[in-house]
């Protein structure tokens, strides 16, 4: 009860913070009105001219008047230095304090503010505050604070330091007003986040971290190439609407898509995230893909070709393909409510697909949906995933690798977690319920794109729900029939700080579900959307029913099987191993990908790389179509 009370109290505090945010934004109606006209780039012209505000801070009243305007990244980097330098015992609270200060710094930023910095002859804008950047920054601030509380008992100094730098880089990305700053923080993000994966200090996590590092560095190189090309072509370094209209912008889009884990560039994500530390996974899920979603929304609004990846991602991630259980048995502990089956493979999977499906659409609803979906960061705290699906079915009271006091823990946290799970799948009455619906409405009604004819978003949604239900079934099956395979991994208890973080965010989520304006008022566009209208509820129920039917029809194929998913995983994991002998005896065995040795892996699986090639070719073709059209 104490813990729940703490969680409730924390939730009330976070809700209060959330209430403050729209209050301060409401003080600048003229800016929002401008945005409502349809350009999310606050005055940026399509050819990338600098924002209208040359410098300085507009005279606007805020709820936090009197606070100096400080870039949250500065607070976080200084905090990281302090965490690294001070004795470890100060780390937990210092992290939380620094996170809170970064949150305050975010609240103190005034829409329209820009900072300028001369960097080797370039006039850079390391801070550009507008509605879109603020919306994502609030998400990051909440996720960072919650993640910090969540990991108070588990994080080490390396984790805390790298998490703070990582968060700083994410803030840096969303406040970057130019492409040089964007690239700077983009790459810093990669370095810092890699340390979060390394910090687990197992052989598997180190291998995954190296793969993560090199894939994202490669993505960064593609991004750099695109940026450099674009700067040469346009003569501007402003970060605005690139528009998909040439080789440079294609490279930029691909660079963003790598970080967004868009199909077919996604293989790193389900590899690295589960390999990270307990709290590290929370931060990874909160920042990397969300920052990429922001970049897509900022750089490619109205680019319909990106929808394919989003919808396709959703389809693939929800069990249309057989799943490969790639993580070796006994790969480590896991936390939270581990029976949430899709967490491991699908964190940042279909959800991020949905986000950036919405992000690139031009209409306000799309961007709104994307930003609102980013608010799911909180939900991640509730579902940090286990590393191996087989471990998810432990004894009744097992919560992954965390032993819950008999008869207690699971039941205590189940309710908000299951509630969140429903939210994530878009059930009405919950926070997530509105997001896919709004995205779907926007896409179906307003976005002319290549996807609409081929993969109707509603179908994707349907399949998603079908996948969920399958997992629900398995969850309950194992829970109630006691298929106990995970007893050996029970190692530690869920800590009070975890309960506090989870409970607090559950309250926030429910509060947002009940009062959606808490989110709507933060979004860069004015919202005229009510999730509780009869037809929307009926629509949601219809989708749920359709999902049930779909599930029943395809249930045979939804069960996990120990085979390899052969999309681009072949390129990601196997190709380097095949290339290495050709190049020479490269002394880098850590980077070479080890294939799972799951029993029963069919021989034919190794030949399925053709399908991966097909996916890539399809992606390229669609991209080309999008460009030419």
């Amino acid at each position: 009860m104490t813990l729940l009370a703490l969680g409730f109290f924390g939730g009330v505090v976070l809700t209060a913070v959330a209430v403050l945010i729209p209050g301060r934004l409401l003080s600048i109606p003229e800016t929002r009105a401008d945005i409502n006209d349809g350009d999310i780039n606050d005055g940026d012209t399509p050819d990338g001219d600098t924002p209208d505000s040359d410098a300085g801070t507009p005279e606007q009243a805020t709820m936090l008047d009197g606070l100096p305007q400080v870039h949250p990244a500065i607070v976080l980097v200084l905090g990281a230095i302090a965490v690294a330098a001070l004795p470890r015992k100060f780390g937990p609270w210092l992290f939380v304090v620094v996170s809170a200060l970064a949150g305050l710094a975010t609240l103190g930023l005034v829409d329209g503010t820009t900072w300028h910095y001369d960097f080797y002859g370039f006039d850079l804008t390391p801070l550009r505050v507008d509605g879109l950047s603020l919306a994502f920054a609030y998400v990051f601030a909440i996720a960072l604070l919650a993640g910090g509380i969540f990991g108070m008992a588990t994080m080490g100094t390396l984790e805390r330091t790298s998490a703070l730098v990582y968060a700083a880089s994410a803030f840096g990305v969303v406040f970057a007003g130019d492409v040089v700053t964007l690239f700077f923080f983009w790459e810093l993000k990669v370095s810092a986040s890699t340390l979060l994966v390394f910090a687990r200090r197992t052989a598997a996590s180190s291998a995954a971290a190296l793969r993560y590092l090199f894939v994202n560095l490669a993505g960064g190189i593609v991004l750099l190439a695109g940026i450099v090309w674009w700067v040469i072509d346009t003569g501007s370094v402003a970060f605005g609407n690139f528009g998909l209209n040439g080789g440079a912008t294609i490279l930029i889009l691909i660079g963003f898509c790598v970080a967004a884990a868009a199909v077919p560039l996604h293989a790193w994500m389900p590899d690295a995230y589960p390999a990270s530390t307990i709290a590290g996974t929370v931060f990874l899920a909160a920042f990397t893909s969300k920052a990429a979603v922001y970049a897509l929304a900022r750089g490619f609004p109205g680019t319909s070709v990106a929808d394919l990846g989003g919808c396709g991602h959703g389809a693939v991630r929800r069990g249309v393909r057989p799943q490969r259980q790639r993580h070796p048995p006994g790969a480590g502990v896991f936390i939270g409510v581990a029976r949430w089956l899709h967490a491991g493979r699908h964190r940042g999977g279909h959800r991020d697909g949905t986000q950036w499906c919405g992000g690139p659409c031009v209409r306000p609803h799309c961007v709104q949906g994307s930003v609102a979906h980013g608010r799911r960061c909180g939900a991640v705290v509730h579902r940090p995933q286990p590393p191996h699906p087989a471990r998810w079915f432990g004894p009744r009271h097992a919560v992954g690798g965390w032993a819950v006091p008999s008869g207690g823990g699971v039941d205590r946290v189940r309710s908000p977690v299951q509630r969140l799970r429903h939210q994530g799948d878009g059930h009405p009455g919950h926070r997530g319920g509105r997001v896919p619906h709004r995205l779907l409405a926007s896409q179906a009604g307003q976005c002319g794109d290549v996807v609409r004819g081929g993969v109707p978003p509603a179908v994707v949604h349907l399949v998603r729900q079908a996948g969920c239900r399958r997992q629900h079934q398995r969850q309950h099956q194992h829970q109630h029939h006691g298929i106990a395979t995970g007893a050996a991994v029970l190692t530690r208890k869920v800590t009070p700080s975890m309960y506090v973080a989870m409970g607090a965010l559950a309250v926030v989520n429910i509060a947002i579900g009940i009062a959606p304006n808490l989110v709507y008022d933060v979004l860069p566009f004015a919202v005229d959307y009510s999730p509780f209208k009869t037809y929307r509820v009926v629509n949601a129920v219809a989708l749920a029913a359709g999902a049930a039917v779909a599930f029943w029809l395809v249930r045979r194929w939804l069960a996990g099987r120990p085979v390899r998913v052969v999309d681009t995983d072949w390129v990601y994991r196997d190709l380097p191993r095949h290339l290495a002998p050709a190049v020479g005896r490269l002394r880098m065995p850590e980077v070479h990908m080890k294939l799972p040795t799951a029993p029963g892996t069919p021989v034919w699986a190794s030949t399925l790389w053709v399908s991966g090639a097909v996916v890539i070719v399809t992606f390229v073709v669609v991209l080309a179509i999008g460009v030419t059209s």
């Binding site: 910095y117 001369d118 960097f119 080797y120 002859g121 040089v180 690239f183 700077f184 923080f185 790459e187 810093l188 990669v190 370095s191 390394f198 200090r201 180190s206 971290a209 190296l210 590092l213 090199f214 560095l217 490669a218 960064g220 190189i221 750099l224 190439a225 450099v228 090309w229 700067v231 040469i232 190049v583 020479g584 005896r585 490269l586 002394r587 880098m588 850590e590 980077v591």
Partner: protein, 487 residues
């Protein structure tokens, strides 16, 4: 003051030689000379920035048209600032190193070191090709005692190879000098070159081939690179000197001088030799990087890394665009700081643990966290990852290659970062995320070695955050003047 910049290390060499029996006094002369040289160079630098002051000094006229002259200019100042600052760091580090390893012939070592720096300062401020050639060859001679310092058969063999390659290159350079002296006797360096209209295209091609052979040996462009990995037998501070402070940088600086101040970009573009040299540099980048993957010896891996990264500078200079020139010139400083950090770390590891192989470094981060963190910073910088300095050069070089419509070279420049990360970052991974029973307790190198490591790593970070050392003021101005008018 200009003469004092060259004279200070020379005088120091003399004082060091006569103080051999009193090591503390000898090392004091080294430190005083390094600090004085840096102070003099910084004074000239500030004067150049604020007042545009470019003093000259006529040393001696050997014959009509053969005059030894010194002159301050932007690009020479860039080289001098980098070399003098790093000489101070290397001096402090060397004292810790030679005492830690109990090296023999320490007086000869420090004397030769000071002579090398004197030659480097003369090279930086040479006003004409003749003066440049003289100091270039003096540098070769002064470095040889350092290469063979250990006097082992392996070291002597490396010394012989060093002389064969560099004196051979010097011979080619001498031919190029003769041609330019015949065409324009006694001509000082001129921004944008002075040979246009004075020489046929075939003559230009001949000069480019000769200076590629001449400077290419010191710059270790493939296939003229063999002496460099062999010279790794020398003590680590010498490797730092070779790779970061003076020797190899003298080679790439020669390309800068000859392409930008003798031949000129327009003439070079007219005969099409710029692209040829750039292609050669691009091939060197890729091949040397791949070879670096295969080196288990840490210093040899770093040596091949140097071979690859020097070619970035040659490639940038050869592309003849303002951006690529700016990137190349900035990379002279960036690479110097980054590579010297890596060699310092390699030396600290050797002195502390006597490990020389990458495969022996598992878990060493627990014992030497500061050293290996600095190694990680420098490795990221060489890979072109922000926030460490190298990424700025990579940015400009990328702009140069893309702007010059050279997509293949753009892929090489930008993609090579991945190769660099591939052969350097796993070392950091081994150090921090693998374990070994050998390294369980913390034990860094002596402060005399650790301090320069921290200083150079910090400088590398600072270079990535902005033009804190005002180097871009020099490089962008030179780039604009030299190739700004190019189409």
């Amino acid at each position: 003051m200009l003469l004092a910049v060259v004279a200070t290390p020379l005088v120091a060499a003399l004082l060091i030689a006569v103080s051999g029996r009193r090591p503390n006094v000898r090392e004091a002369w080294t430190l005083i000379a390094a600090a004085t040289t840096l102070a003099l160079v910084v004074t000239l630098f500030v004067d150049l920035l604020n007042n545009g002051s470019a003093p000259t000094w006529n040393l001696v006229e050997l014959a009509p048209g053969l005059e030894l002259r010194l002159r301050v200019d932007d690009v020479g100042m860039l080289f001098a600032v980098s070399a003098s600052a790093l000489w101070l760091a290397t001096s402090v580090y060397s004292i810790g190193y030679v005492r830690g390893t109990d090296e023999t012939h320490q007086t000869r070592y420090f004397t030769a070191f000071a002579l090398c720096v004197a030659a480097t300062m003369g090279l930086a401020f040479s006003a004409n090709f003749f003066t440049f050639f003289i100091f270039y060859e003096l540098l070769t001679a002064a470095t040889w005692p350092l290469v063979v310092h250990k006097q082992t058969p392996e070291a002597l063999a490396a010394g012989r190879r060093y002389l064969r390659y560099l004196l051979g290159g010097g011979a080619a350079l001498l031919l190029a000098l003769v041609i330019t002296q015949v065409v324009a006797p006694g001509q000082d360096f001129v921004i944008g070159g002075y040979l246009d209209g004075l020489i046929s295209n075939n003559g230009v091609i001949a000069i480019v081939v000769l200076i590629t052979l001449g400077f290419g040996t010191k710059a270790a462009i493939m296939p003229l690179h063999k002496w460099l990995p062999g010279a790794m037998v020398a003590p680590t501070p010498v490797s730092s000197l070779l790779h970061a402070v003076a020797v190899v940088k003298a080679g790439v600086f020669g390309f800068v001088r000859l392409f930008g101040f003798v031949i000129g970009p327009e003439l070079l573009a007219e005969v099409g030799m710029g692209v040829v040299v750039a292609t050669l540099a691009g091939i060197t980048i890729v091949v040397a990087s791949v070879i670096a993957f295969r080196q288990d010896n840490l210093k040899k891996r770093l040596a091949y890394s140097t071979i690859a990264h020097l070619s970035f500078i040659i490639l940038g200079v050869s592309l003849l665009s303002a951006e690529s020139w700016n990137g190349a010139l900035l990379y002279i400083a960036n690479h110097a700081v980054l590579k010297i950090t890596l060699f310092f770390c390699a030396g600290a590891i050797y002195v502390t643990t006597h490990k020389t192989k990458v495969s022996e470094l598992d878990g060493i981060g627990r014992r030497m966290p500061i050293t290996m963190a600095a190694f990680g910073v420098a490795a990221l910088g060489l890979a072109g990852v922000p926030p460490v300095g190298g990424w700025v050069s990579k940015w400009f070089l990328g702009m140069g290659t893309v702007g010059a419509d050279q997509p293949v070279l753009a892929v090489v420049v930008l993609g090579s970062g991945l190769l660099t990360a591939g052969y350097l970052l796993p070392i950091v991974y081994r150090a921090f995320f693998r374990t070994s029973p050998e390294f369980t307790t913390m034990g860094e190198a002596k402060p005399m070695m650790l301090l320069p490591i921290v200083a150079t790593a910090t400088a590398a970070l600072a270079l990535g955050l902005g033009d804190v050392f005002r180097l871009d003021v020099l490089t962008s101005a030179v780039s604009a003047l030299v190739v700004g008018g190019m189409p």
